[in-house]
C-alpha cells in the first residue's frame, strides 16, 4: 500500500484553480518530486499535504488514515521550508530540539539525540550557534536535521536549495540523496528547477496549471515527454510543428513547414493528415560541413547566431526553408579555439530518425 495517497484533490482561490483534480500515490522510501513553473500549484499541494491549507475537494490519506481533520501539528509530516524558517531567537541545538520538546520527550533523551542529529548533517560542535551565525548551507542542514529528528513518516521539502549558489547547490543535492537513502524516510520535494528534479528524484510529477502533466522516472520524462509543455519545460528542446504525411509500422514521415520532410521512428504514430509536433533535443542534432552517415534527416542552412556557455555552444541554424533549429555542440571537440562556426557560415544540420519524439496534438 502506498504511504501517501492524494485522491482527486482540488483547491480554488476565488476563480483561480490552483490544484485541479490531482491524484498521486507515493510509496514508502520514495524520493518524489513535484516539478513545475511558479503558479503551477505545486506549493499549494505541498501546503495541503502539510496541513496548512485544506483541499476544497478530494482527500489526502497518510498511511491509510485520512488527514482531513488532522491539524498540521498532529500530522506525522515535517517540512523543510524554502526560507528554512529557523527560529532566530533559538540556538541550533534548541531549533533541532524543538519537535522533541513539543512531543514532550524526556529532557535526558533530547541532548544525545540532538548531538546525533548534528553529527548526521556534519554540524557537530555548532550547538550553541544562532541561525544568523551560520552559512546558507549550514542553515539548510539545520532545517533538515530539525525536520528529521522526530522521524516523521514523510518529509516535505519546499525548494530547499533555491537560496544557495550553484556550487553549493550541487553539493547539497548529493548530501540530500545520501541522507534520504540513510534515513529511508519518504521525501516529497518541490522545485521549479528541472535539473535538480532530474538529479534527485525516483519519480517526478511535472505540474502545470494545477494539473499533473506527466508522472514518470527522470529518464522517461527527459527522453519521452508526453506533451509539448513537458518537452519545453524540461531542458532545451526544438519543437517543430507539422502534419503526418505517411505512416508505416513504427516509422512515419512528418511534413514540417519551412523545413521539409522528417523521418521519425519509434514514436507512437499518428494517422496521415494528423497534426503534431516533433520534439528534438538540441544535443541530438549534428552540425557540420559534413554529417555522420547515420543522419537520416539532413538539411542545409546558415548559422544565424550562437550562445557560448563554456562547456557547450548552442548554435541557431536557419535552414533553407526558413525554420530555425537549435543545435548543441560540446566544446570538448573544438580544441583551443572557442567555436567552430561563425554567424553566416553555411552548414548542414541533421539527426537520426530515432533522435526525435513525436507528440500528437
Amino acid at each position: 500500500m502506498a504511504l501517501l495517497e492524494i485522491r482527486n484533490v482540488t483547491r480554488r482561490f476565488g476563480d483561480f484553480l490552483a490544484v485541479d483534480d490531482v491524484s498521486l500515490s507515493i510509496g514508502t522510501g520514495e524520493f518524489f518530486t513535484l516539478l513545475g513553473p511558479s503558479g503551477c500549484g505545486k506549493t499549494t499541494l505541498l501546503r495541503m499535504i502539510a496541513g496548512f491549507d485544506a483541499p476544497d475537494g478530494g482527500e489526502i490519506v497518510l498511511d491509510g488514515q485520512s488527514m482531513t481533520d488532522v491539524p498540521p501539528e498532529a500530522r506525522n509530516i515535517h517540512t523543510v521550508f524554502q526560507s528554512y524558517a529557523l527560529f532566530p531567537h533559538m540556538t541550533v541545538a534548541d531549533n533541532i530540539a524543538f519537535p522533541l520538546r513539543m512531543a514532550k520527550c524526556p529532557a535526558a533523551d533530547i541532548t544525545p539525540r540532538v548531538k546525533e542529529a548534528l553529527d548526521d548533517v556534519s554540524l557537530a560542535g555548532m550547538e550553541k550557534r544562532f541561525p544568523h551565525e551560520l552559512s546558507g548551507g549550514q542553515r539548510q542542514r539545520v532545517a533538515v536535521a530539525r525536520a528529521l529528528i522526530s522521524r516523521p513518516k514523510l518529509l516535505l521539502l519546499d525548494e530547499p536549495l533555491a537560496a544557495l549558489d550553484a556550487k553549493l547547490k550541487e553539493r547539497m543535492q548529493l548530501e540530500l540523496i545520501t541522507l534520504q537513502k540513510e534515513v529511508g524516510i519518504t521525501f516529497v520535494y518541490v522545485t521549479h528547477d528541472q535539473e535538480e528534479a532530474l538529479a534527485l528524484s525516483h519519480r517526478i510529477a511535472v505540474m502545470n496549471k494545477g494539473r499533473v502533466e506527466q508522472l514518470d522516472d527522470p529518464p522517461t520524462i527527459y527522453s519521452f515527454p508526453k506533451n509539448r509543455f513537458v518537452a519545453d519545460f524540461i531542458g532545451e528542446c526544438n519543437l517543430l510543428d507539422g502534419t503526418v504525411a505517411s505512416q508505416a509500422g513504427d516509422a512515419m514521415t512528418l511534413d514540417v513547414p519551412g523545413l521539409g520532410s522528417v523521418r521519425i521512428v519509434g514514436s507512437p504514430g499518428g494517422s496521415p493528415g494528423a497534426a503534431g509536433t516533433l520534439a528534438l533535443r538540441p544535443e541530438k542534432v549534428s552540425i557540420g560541413r559534413e554529417l555522420p552517415a547515420d543522419c537520416a534527416n539532413r538539411f542545409h542552412g546558415r548559422v544565424f547566431d550562437y550562445l557560448y556557455t563554456g562547456d557547450v555552444t548552442l548554435y541557431i541554424v536557419e535552414v533553407e526553408g526558413g525554420q530555425r533549429v537549435e543545435v548543441m555542440l560540446p566544446n570538448s571537440a573544438v580544441g583551443r579555439s572557442s567555436k567552430f562556426f561563425e554567424p553566416g557560415d553555411g552548414v548542414q544540420v541533421g539527426w537520426r530518425d530515432d533522435a526525435g519524439h513525436f507528440l500528437p496534438d
Binding site: 496541513g51 496548512f52 501539528e73 515535517h78 526560507s83 532566530p88 544562532f130
Partner: protein, 293 residues
Amino acid sequence: MSTRVQKWILSGPPLLYLLVFFAVPVGIMVVASFRYAGEFGGLAPLFGTGDPDEVAGLTVESYQRFFDDRIYLELFAKSFVYAVLTTVACLACAYPLSLMIARSPKKSRDLLVLLVILPFWSNFLIRVYAWMIILGPQSLFTRAFNGLTGAFGLEPMPLLFSPIAVLIGLVYVHLPFMVLPLYANLEKHDPALLDAAQDLGANAWQRFWRITFPLSLPGVYAGAALVFIPALGIFAIPDLLGGTDSMLIGNLVKQQFLDARDWPFGSVLSIVLTAAAILFAGLAAWFGRPKRA
C-alpha cells in the same frame, strides 16, 4: 566649499539653538539643584547666604532633604508603581491589538494603525477631559458601575478623583506609544516561523509563547520605555482625575516651582525623576537590543 564648511553651515544653527535652549537650561538646573532657595522663592543671591558650610554658594542641602525624608521617597515609589501599572496595563491592551493588526491583510494594516493614532492626535487635555465626563458622579457609566457593585452589596463609590481614574487616564493617554513599537515588531515576523513551529508539533498556545512572544520582546521593551518615561513624570492627569491622595512626583515638581517656589528642591526632584527615567530607558534598551546582527 569644503566638506568641513558645509558641515558647519548645516549643523551649526540647530546645534547652537539646542545648546542655548536645551543644554544650557538643563545645565543651569543642575547647578540650581546645588543652590539655596531664595527668601522670596526662586534662587538665593549667589553669595552671602551666611551658611558656614557654604562652598562657592553651593550646597547639597536639597539632595539631603530628598533622601532623608521618607515622604519624598515614598512619593517616588508611588509614582513608580503607577508608571509600572500603566505600562503593564498598556501592554495588556496593546498586545492583542498589535497582533491583530500585524496579522490582518496588508492593505488594511495602515488603516488599522491610523485608527490607533487618530485619537492620539486630539489634544491631550481633551482626552483626559473625556474621562472626567465618563467617570463623573452623575454619568451613566458611574451609575451603572455603582448599580452593579451595589447588587453585590458594595457601597457606592466615586470613580472620579480616585487612583482608578488616574490609572485609566494614564493608560488611555499612553496606549498608542505601546501599540506602535509593538506592531512595528510583530509586523516583521516571518509567518513561515509559525508554520514551521506548527509543522513540528506546536499548538497555538506553544506557538505564541515559544515563537511570537520571545521574538516580540524588543518591541515590548521599546513600548515599555515609551510609556514608562512620560508616565513617571506626569502631573496633569493626577491633577485633573486624581483626588487629594493621588499626588505624584510630577505634581510635587510643579508645586515646588509654582507654589512653594523652592527651585533648588524642585530641581533635585526633576533630576532624580529624569535619572530614574533614563535608567529605566537604558535598561529597556539593553534588554531590547537587537541580538541578531
